[in-house]
Amino acid sequence: MYIIDRRLNPKGKNIGNRQRFIRRARAEISKVVQEASSRRNVADIGQGDRVVIPSHGLKEPLFRKAHSGGTRSHVLPGNKEYVPGDKLPRPPEGGGRGGREGSPDGGGDDEFQFVLSRQEFVDLFLEDLELPELVKKQVKHTDSTALTRAGFTVSGSPSNLNILRTMRNSLSRRIALKRPRPHEIQALREEIERLRAEEAGSERLQEAENKLDLLLRRSKLIPFIDPIDVRYNRFEAVPKPVTQAVMFCLMDVSGSMTESMKDLAKRFFMLLYLFLERRYRHVELVFIRHTHEAKEVDEQTFFYSTETGGTVVSTALEQMRQILQSRYSPADWNIYAAQASDGDNTAGDNERTADLLANAILPVCQYFAYLEVGEHDDRFGRETALWRTYKLIADLNDTLAMRRVRSRSDIYPVFRELFARSRSAAA
């Protein structure tokens, strides 16, 4: 008998099967996942989740006896209240199903329930979305570079000398050119010594001396290490992609923004954050909220505390510009911004806003999404002041994207629209 401890065996024996299953049920699962964006709380958007999908399409068809119907006769042991001769009522049609519900291994016949891991959830959630300008940024900023090894070269600085390569070349050259080895010369010398002592002037001595001459000459002509042997490690400067991103969340928190509008904005920010987090090794968040003046705040304050005041959008942009200057150099950071507003702005401020956005913010941003949230109907084509202002800039600038959102269920489609792969392909 052998006992084998399998407990430390690698886990995830069934990962392949799990992936195959998720691929199989992809349509159903991703529908559920996408609904989640309008249903779930902000904090756990990125969590894995229990997913319930309809089980049709996942059924494995089988030929087997039906659970109900037909005439059956059973002999089952046991008795509670019957005496011989009693007739048992036939269980009502569908009684079999009732039985299955009670069975310990039945359950979940119509719905299939399981838990998606966080990674799987996010992957499905963001499937075929692409960040725009990602590639461009990576190529554009060649000022941060890293050295990577790139083979060998025949010239270089002594500190980069590759001794192994050099000696290998030297050895093969010495073998090829038959450079005598030190111990061969040593042996010949000893031989000559011996001959001199024993039979001075003999022919063999002469021969040995000639041979020694030849060997010495050869070892002088064929150097131990020749310049052609020498190899250096070669390094190449490779532009290092900027793997960190900063995301600015700008929001109007003046009186005209209702709680539900803020909630919409929050969901959008949340999606954007999730998205960036997946693409960049390091993502920082900056929250700027504004009324008639702008402030950088923490997340809690940003979303949950209320403030009253007027609405001057340019203050937020100005604040963002200052933070960019002081903390986030465009060379080192991928900069993303999302602004949510109900579209109100103080009448005299639009010009300054447009100027700041077009000349200071957009040139350094990878992407600036303007999201107009609101409950009112815009069927009459009534555009808000801010919308009109941004519209002019957006026409000229690809970096700025703007959308209107009315309800929770709009958020995900709008997000998809903004970041759909096709857009980046066209850009």
């Binding site: 084998i4 407990r7 099967n17 089952l76 009670g102 069975s103 399981f114």
Partner: protein, 339 residues
Amino acid sequence: MTATCELLYSGADWTFEAIDRVYAAIDEIAKSELKLDLYPTQIEVITSEQMLDAYASIGMPLMYRHWSFGKRLLQDEALYRRGARGLAYEIVINSNPCICYIMEENTMTMQTLVIAHAAFGHNHFFKNNHLFQQWTDASGIIDYLAFARRFIADCEVQHGSAAVERVLDAAHSLMGQGVHRYPKARPLDLKRERQRELNRRRHEEENYNELWRTIPGQTGVPRGLDTLAKRRQALNLPEENLLYFLEKRAPKLQPWQREILRIVRMLAQYFYPQRQTKMMNEGAATYTHYWIMNRLYEQGRITDGAMLEFLHAHTSVVFQPEFDDPRYPASTPMRSASP
């Protein structure tokens, strides 16, 4: 034997040494008293996670990849995490050597119980039951599974996983109809064939009568088979094993598709006796473990506490459900849970 042997273990925690001692003690009882005839045993300790993995692949240590196994895993996992279902204490595989998985969470008494149950009871049954002998090849199954897994993985690379999945889906749905229920008649060897031919000719000679030739309506042409019968014969019908029939006769299948059908069919056949003998198999194993545990107790090799723990586990799974138990679906006649 007398009741003077020393205790095999005490306390709830199991150790590898204790398992060794227990195995040796059970082995002695099983061989000398019960006269069991066993495959060599290989005991493997696994975690609950690995147990779930094993569930998904029908208990086999190796299995080809298919989405339905992933589905089963997710289902079992969900049930287990919810607490709706406990896990088995062991899984035993009809192979040579007989592989017996035991869970690390079990107490030492449970390990003793499951070793007696699986490594001895089931093991003996697998080796000696005529259905298992007839239909399964215990020493070849692991290698066959390894082959199947590799073959199907290669097919996925060559023909795409979608194509492989299609074939496997179809084959799985016919798995229940993919078994030979009765052994085929053995093809005769040359000697017996000749003997049969001789007997037949002698019979004809003995019963020869000129009169038969003169009966009107006979054309002299031997009554050939009509076309339908001919076709049936050509297709080797009737054939109850649908997978076998498709594998051999389907006109359009590629060789690799036939091989996949064959793999599924072989597995169906391998598992067929399990279903047929479920009751008897569990019964034999339960009888064995009950006998052995009692014997160990009589010999004073397990404590009173261990015996009570065993009896509790034993009685809570071995019982006869009432006739109106909701777990009787209309189709399953009887069912005995087993540890």
